[in-house]
Every structure is written in C-alpha cells, then in structure tokens.
C-alpha cells in the first residue's frame, strides 16, 4: 500500500483535480474516491437502517427525519413532473443523487479532510469536489431525461424537438438548435455548479484554518455550519434540476414557453399521461 505516511499538513495543498493515492490495477484510486466510498457507505447504511426500521414498524428520530425528507421530496417530484407514474420512475435517481451529494458534501466538513496527507497528498477529498463525479451525475441526469423523452415522444418525436424544417418554421428551427445547445449547457452547468461549490468550500475551510491560526477552533465552526448549509442547498438544487430537466424533456412543444431555457427559475410540468 501507498498509505505509508500520515501527517498533518503544515501548508494547505490545493489541487483542482482529485489526486491519486494508489492504483488498483489499471484504475487510479483518488482521494475523492476514498471519501466518496465512505460517504456512499454511510448513505447506504443509513437508508437501509431506516428502511429496515420502518419495515419493522419501529420509529426514532433518525427514521423520522429521513422519512420526512423522503416524503417531502417525493411530493415535490410529483408536483414538478406532474405525472405520478413518471415521477415514481425518475424519483429513485433524483433522491439518490440528493442523499449521496448531501452526505459526501457534509463529510468534507469533517476534521482531517484536506489536512491528513499521504506523501504530501491529502488522503480525503469531498466527492462533489471531484469533477469526474459531478460530470458523471450530470451525464446521468441529461441521459435519463432524454430516455424518458424518447419513451414519451418516440425516437423521432424527440429528435423533432431539436431538428425542425427551417423553411416551414424558421423560428422553431432556431429554437431547436438552441434547445440542442441547451442540453450541453445543462450538462456543464450541473457538473460545474456542484464541483465549484464543493471545491470552493474545501479551499475556504483550508484558508480560514490557515488564516485564523490558533483561533481556528473558534472561527471554523461557523464556516463549517455554512458549508453544511451550502451542501444541503447544492444537493437540493441538483435534485430539483434533475426533475425539472426531465419535466421539460417530457413536455410537448406547445407546453413550454421560451423561458424554459431558465429551468431553475421556471418549469412547466409535463402533462398528465
């Protein structure tokens, strides 16, 4: 194993990309993956624990909070999508994104993240601060919305949303091109928003710890609380945008206005099937 030396870093180590800690065959295991695996493990354990408790009819504070969040988000999903069947299909993906982003983001606040190093490389890095992860999530979101759009409109029907006859409908054709570009912009916006916030959060905590010196113990908790809040907001934004993009993809041409290009602000739910 490469994990030979653990030492608290005296100087902050800032890297835009996640750094390799060791190799597992051809795959390089980065510091974000190490904390990501822990985060996903915590998420899965928590959800299985709550599901098991609920199945046995037992309740406590943790089950109450998770169930309350789940039900609240499910209600929102139904409202955004508009169709209960489709909402139930897309919801597992969206809620998993929420829980995984939330837990892995919150883990970045733990002491030791960014400060425990192996050969000068931080051992832990928040998973959302790895562009590979956020990009993967964005790809899944965009592809999933396209899959549901193809299911509803058919392959050619879905392609027809982007490609229109410029002679018959020049404005529609231009709008189709913008829609097509919009799909890629969503991909980039989704991934970079989360990555940027998580990476900036980690850097912020490191810098505050360094700048405040001996009083870091008094100052950092405020910034940590702020990061927890930002983590929740980012997870929620990702969750909502996933649903909104799907809703927009399901909407027929006449259903949405030109303001659909700002889906975070306005969204037209798909019609009831």
């Amino acid at each position: 194993m490469i994990l030979t030396t653990f030492a608290a870093s005296s100087e902050p180590h800032i890297s835009l990309a996640a750094e390799e800690i060791f190799k597992l065959g051809p795959v390089s295991i980065t510091n974000s993956i190490i904390l990501g695996v822990i985060g996903v493990g915590v998420t899965v354990a928590l959800l299985f624990y709550v599901a098991n408790m609920l199945q046995n009819g037992k309740r406590n504070f943790v089950t109450g909070v998770v169930q309350w969040a789940f039900e609240g988000f499910y209600g929102q999903a139904e409202e955004i999508i508009g169709d209960k069947t489709t909402a139930r299909r897309i919801f597992p993906l969206a809620i998993t994104m929420f829980f995984v982003i939330l837990v892995t983001y919150w883990l970045s606040v733990l002491p030791g993240v960014g400060t425990i190093t192996v050969n000068g490389t931080p051992l832990f890095r928040a998973l959302p601060a790895d562009l590979n992860f956020t990009f993967a999530l964005a790809i899944i979101t965009v592809v999933a919305s396209q899959v549901y759009a193809v299911r509803k409109h058919g392959f050619f029907g879905n392609v027809g949303r982007y490609l229109k006859n410029p002679i018959k409908d020049p404005i529609g054709a231009f709008e189709g091109i913008l829609e097509f570009i919009g799909e890629f912009s969503r991909l980039v916006a989704l991934s970079f928003r989360l990555f940027g916030n998580a990476f900036a959060g980690e850097v912020l905590l490191l810098l505050i710890a360094l700048l405040t010196g001996y009083v870091a113990g008094l100052v950092l908790p405020f910034f940590m609380a702020f990061e927890l809040f930002i983590g929740f907001i980012q997870a929620y934004v990702f969750f909502v945008l996933t649903l909104i993009f799907t809703s927009l993809a399901l909407a027929t041409h006449g259903d949405h206005s030109s303001s659909d290009h700002s889906p975070a602000v306005t969204a037209t739910p798909a019609k009831q099937e």
Binding site: S15, A17, S28, T30, V44, E71, P92, L93, I95, L131
Partner: protein, 186 residues
C-alpha cells in the same frame, strides 16, 4: 502566505504546461475511466436502493395516502349521512308539526261538537223542564179550578139555600147551580 495564494495558480499552470496537448476537461481532472466507473457505480447504487430501500418508503407513503383517501371518503359519507339525517329530522319535524296541527284541529272540532251537543242537550232539558213545569202548572190550575168550582158551587148552593129556603130541596139546588155554572162558563 504568498506561496499559499500562488500555489493554486501555479498548480493549474504546471498542469497546463506539462500536458499541453491535453484538453480542458483533462486539465480539470477529468479521467474518463474513473468517470465511467463512477457513473456505473452510481447507477448500480440507484438500482440497489430502488430495489430494496425506496419501495419501503414508497409503500408507507402509499399506505398513508390510502388511509387519507379512506378517511376522506369516510368523512364524505359521514357528511352525506349527517345531511340525510338532517333531512329526515326536518321531514319528521314537519310531519310531527302537521300531525300536531291535525290533532289540535280535531280536538277543537270535537270540543266544539261537544259544546254544541251539551248546549243542545241543556236546551232540550231546559225545554223539557219548562214543559213539565207548564204541565204541572196546568194541572195545578185545573185542580185549583175544580176546587174553586166545587167551592163556588158549595158557596152558591149555600147562598141560594139561604135565599130560597124552603122552595126547593137540596137535589134541585145542586142541579140548578151546575146548570148555572155551565152557562156561566159558556
């Protein structure tokens, strides 16, 4: 401290410098193998949670929704029953009022009849009493007349006897007096 603020830029610059041919995504840390692995791993995670965890949550939501729907239906039925009961009560009250009015009217009619009957009976009785009284009076008058007649005859006989003493006997006097009285009656 200055090294801290220049480190980030230096790292980014060195990454760009060492991999001049690398595209922007690679310079930002995109490793396509790693990305694909994370993508697949996440989809597997979604599948596992969707298969074993979320159905439990969704079942609870469905059960709660079912209970809410049932409660809503029950409330609706109770409302309908209450409305029906209110209507029934209103009908019953209406019927009761009508019956009460009928009873009162009947009672009034019967009372009137009874009063009229009693009045009639009283009138008949009084008339009968009056008639009987008249009859008794008539009888008394007749008896008095007869007595008076006898007394008169006797007095007249005595008077006549005193007047015509010795001319006629008692039998002739009586016959004459009766004849005189009858003549007087006429």
């Amino acid at each position: 401290m200055s090294s801290l603020f220049t480190q980030f830029a230096a790292t980014a610059a060195s990454e760009h410098g060492s991999e001049e041919k690398a595209d922007i995504l690679t310079s930002l840390g995109i490793d396509w193998t790693l990305l694909a692995m994370q993508l697949i791993a996440f989809l597997i995670l979604v599948w596992i949670l969707g298969k074993f965890v979320y159905p439990v949550f969704l079942r609870i939501i469905d059960e709660r929704q079912e209970k809410l729907d049932e409660a809503g239906k029950a409330a609706e039925q109770a409302q309908e029953k209450a409305e029906a009961a209110e209507e029934k009560i209103a009908d019953s009250l209406k019927q009761a009022r009508k019956e009460a009015a009928d009873i009162v009217a009947t009672a009034k009619a019967e009372a009137t009849q009874m009063v009229e009957k009693a009045e009639a009976q009283a009138k008949t009785r009084s008339e009968r009493i009056v008639a009987e009284a008249h009859e008794d009076i008539q009888k008394d008058v007749l008896a008095a007349r007869k007595t008076l007649e006898k007394d008169t005859i006797s007095l007249v006989k005595k008077a006549a006897g005193l007047a015509v003493a010795g001319i006629a006997d008692e039998q002739l006097d009586t016959a004459l007096i009766k004849q005189s009285v009858e003549g007087a009656k006429k």
